[in-house]
Assembly symmetry: C2
Homo-oligomer: 251 residues x 2
Amino acid sequence: MRCMTSSDTPGTAANAPAERTAVAARDWSSAAADPQYRAAVVDLLGALAYGELAAFERLAEDAKLAPTLADKAELAKMASAEFHHFERLSNRLAEIGEEPTEAMAPFVTAYESFHKQTAPSDWLEGLVKAYVGDSIASDFYREVAARLDTDTRELVLAVLDDTGHAEFAVEKVRAAIDADPRVGGRLALWARRLMGEALSQSQRVVADRDALSTMLVGGVADGFDLAEVGRMFSRITEAHTKRMAALKLAA
Amino acid sequence: MRCMTSSDTPGTAANAPAERTAVAARDWSSAAADPQYRAAVVDLLGALAYGELAAFERLAEDAKLAPTLADKAELAKMASAEFHHFERLSNRLAEIGEEPTEAMAPFVTAYESFHKQTAPSDWLEGLVKAYVGDSIASDFYREVAARLDTDTRELVLAVLDDTGHAEFAVEKVRAAIDADPRVGGRLALWARRLMGEALSQSQRVVADRDALSTMLVGGVADGFDLAEVGRMFSRITEAHTKRMAALKLAA
């Protein structure tokens, strides 16, 4: 399925390690000459854009559950930051001649299923969900970013900039567990359910989106083979486990 | 209840018309020397700030009902704009040494009652509600702004800047009525209910908040007497009626 030929990248040797750095060293206009790479990036930006819009909605929804006005304002602030990330991604899609809503459309069902399966029943569940979801998404996109062309990478890393949510969630959840340790058991179960549902929806997306999964599995980007994808999922799961432990939630 | 004495405003004659321009010609630090004026402005900024936060929540909520991804993104954009207005008001309260959440607290019940009594049952009712609510609030604050000190006035007018919602709502509602004229009858009833509920909650706020109502009724600001308040409410209702007629909704 490799569609990048060495003739597209003059000066790059045809062996695998050199190819692995090829896209990551090129800018968008050069890398996008390969239609499969271009399609994969459009998918990636569409998925990320809809994810930000969904995060906006989820945080705004959680703001309604906030126990104090200050917490409400804090969540509204994060929601607004997510919206600005969405805006940048959406503008970028338009810039490269893609209709943002069309690029996002293939990912709506997966996000909506995830959110329906994991509707938080209270403020703390909402915080844990936002924290777990943001962290996993951020880990995933950072892994992928390293393999993207320089322009796309810069944008992806910029919109992953922490909106301050992690610190806020950790602080509130820790305080709640300190006040009532039984809360920890309930939230640990909840976090496991979130991780399971997130993995199941990701698999669905990967199965549905050829260009995206081809890029992930040793395809048009940089020699990201199936074993590497497996290792990536391990790293993400491991990081999740560590975060939960730091939150005093056994994952 | 007039607490501003002519000795506080050297150079101002003691007659009513001159007093009427007094606060409006002063800046905050001069006007705020009068503790009742100061308390009234803190109330006003608190009410406006909570209104923006509530508008953020309402628009984010409506975004979930949006029939298309483009509509959803448009509403998220407006919600985010309302959040930035909230942020400016909240920063201003902090700047003048007030705790924003304390300043907002007295107005939470009125807004929440209003929103509970007027939960939209669909996308179009949500649009009409946001349009009617924003327009009435904007008319009211513009009337009051003319009577405020120069610094507070500038801020109030800045956060009333149209977030593009009005045009969007009008366009969508008109199209829906053109497509099915029966929709117009239903939305006209809805708009009447919104106006009634808004008036009833405003009366509650005015009854509860001494400093604010004293400013409105010929008090610490600029000779805004009871007859003038009556005329203000007439102007606001009249503007509402005109807007509804323009929307082909008989108010």
